[in-house]
């Protein structure tokens, strides 16, 4: 069996907006979602820069008994998934009568774990953790909560592969659908955006300290970049087989035509060139495409010195003298980590459907390594129908997706 895999729904809860239209406009105009948060400075952070993700207020939507098991990331994911299901026109009746699965990226539950354990330690009583703590403090909390809330009765799985988690969720879902094991899968990625979630990350001095100018702090590929800016939220996509989508009368937005992955098998935080390059090669092979078929690359580039250099080198080596346009939407969103691989596919689809490539804001001049690729500093109006999205993570876990436009 070899089914085509299509995307029929998308939803976002992002620092660039909480509707697809809002995010499309933010991408087009080069809006930055980054702010300075004094609470972080007061708490002892080296960098108080963060993505300005709106608070998720689920109280009007869900009873306490459901919210009780949902940490921050699951709350964002719920809101993003509501939108995606609505766009895909998958209602409760359909979901309860068919076998729809979920594969969702998530790789931390720090705040929820900390709160539960703080209560336990203060009271010296495990009951004090509360009945929701166990469900909130498991890494699979997003997929377990969403599966119950939306009555998803197919595969129920979390992908946890650092900053490629969201991308791997799409890749795995596509593979299951292609092989006929599932007809429809909810996938995506979520990232807690509280200060506790990334306190240890701040501790290793990976974040930009350009605090006097938050909107210009995240500057992937630029020679004056000084680290990433953490962000968060959630992004959900509905994947299904082409036949399933047509049978339901769903509007098809795009098609997942390739997934490639690789492991560096090397350093836990320093990426290689060879590993990411193999991910790209594997993805092109899986899609049956050549580098010149790719019209836009949404890079992983997070605004770290070495990471951006290594990715630029991998792209340059593979694409040769073909100067494929490259941008990193992290210049606007910061690094959405477990969410990024999914959100960046949505950002790129929004560009593709609306005929533009969002400029890599804050890119003023490359360094010697990043000069090897064609980074677009400003939004360009251009039609394209095939793009590639990279996501690389700690531990040397790489994932690449190729998405094609679909004209109904």
């Amino acid at each position: 069996m070899n089914h085509r895999v299509v995307i029929t729904g998308m939803g976002l809860w992002s620092c660039l907006g909480t509707t697809l239209d809002e995010v499309r406009d933010a991408l087009y105009t080069g809006k930055s979602g980054i702010i300075y948060n004094p609470e972080r400075k007061d708490a002892g952070f080296r960098s108080a820069l963060v993505g300005n993700v709106p608070v998720a207020d689920l109280k009007p939507l869900l009873h306490r008994k459901f919210r009780n098991t949902m940490p921050e990331a699951a709350q964002y994911a719920y809101l993003a998934t509501l939108q995606a299901l609505e766009q895909a026109r998958l209602d409760e009746d359909y979901l309860t009568q068919h076998e729809v699965g979920i594969i969702y990226g998530n790789d931390s539950v720090v705040e929820a774990t900390m709160i539960g354990l703080d209560k336990f330690r203060a009271a010296r009583d495990t009951v004090a953790c509360g009945s929701g703590a166990i469900f909130q403090s498991m890494n699979s909390t997003v997929s377990m909560n969403l599966a119950c809330l939306f009555h998803l009765r197919g595969i129920n799985l979390t992908t946890a592969s650092a900053c490629s988690s969201g991308s791997q969720s799409i890749g795995l879902a596509a593979m299951l659908i292609r092989d006929g094991l599932q007809e429809c899968v909810v996938c995506g990625g979520a990232e807690e955006n509280n200060l506790f979630g990334i306190a240890a990350f701040d501790g290793i001095q990976a974040f930009s300290v350009r605090e006097d100018d938050p909107a210009r702090a995240s500057r992937p590929f630029d020679r004056s970049r000084d680290g990433l800016v953490p962000g968060g939220g959630a992004a959900t996509l509905i994947l299904e087989s082409y036949e399933h989508a047509v049978q339901r009368g769903a509007t098809i937005l795009a098609e997942v035509v390739g997934w490639g992955f690789s492991g560096n098998g090397d350093h836990i935080s320093v990426p290689t060139v060879e590993g990411p390059m193999r991910s790209l090669e594997n993805c092109l092979r899986n899609a049956g495409l050549q580098p010149r078929d790719i019209q836009y690359i949404n890079a992983h580039a997070t605004s770290t010195i070495i990471g951006d250099q290594r990715e630029a080198k991998a792209i340059a080596q593979l694409f040769g003298d073909y100067r494929v346009p490259v941008t990193s939407t992290k210049s606007q969103t910061g690094h959405e980590m477990w969410m990024a691989g999914a959100s960046e596919v949505i950002y790129s689809i929004l560009m593709m459907k609306n005929g533009f490539i969002a400029g890599n804001i804050n890119f003023e001049a490359p360094d010697d390594e990043t000069a090897a690729i064609n980074v677009l500093p400003e939004t360009r109006e251009t039609a394209f129908d095939t793009f590639l999205s990279n996501s690389f993570g700690f531990g040397g876990t790489n994932s690449t997706l190729i998405i094609k436009d679909f004209k109904n």
Binding site: H63, R64, K65, A123, D125, V127, A128, G130, S131
Partner: protein, 82 residues
């Protein structure tokens, strides 16, 4: 020592707030699990509240005997510390 009236007033207000229900559904003979929409796992939140607010640890065995709000008021009244 708190009077039974004080205990009833405090417990009803706390339960309504924490479990997001109308205080009017809490009557002396109402079944706690039904009124608060609790399952066997979320009953531990009730245990935690009683421990936190009254310093009383309800054992698993005792919990099975606490079915109605009256049972709960009785339990707190008789186990509260002087």
């Amino acid at each position: 020592m708190k009077t039974r009236a004080q205990i009833i007033s405090e417990i009803n207000a706390k339960m309504a707030e924490v479990f997001e229900i109308e205080e009017s559904v809490i009557t002396p003979d109402a079944t706690i699990a039904d009124a608060l929409e609790l399952d066997s796992i979320s009953l531990v939140d009730l245990v935690s509240i009683v421990h936190q607010d009254y310093g009383i640890k309800i054992s698993k065995e005792d919990l099975t005997q606490i079915v109605t709000f009256n049972n709960l008021y009785d339990y707190i009244e008789t186990h509260q510390k002087a």
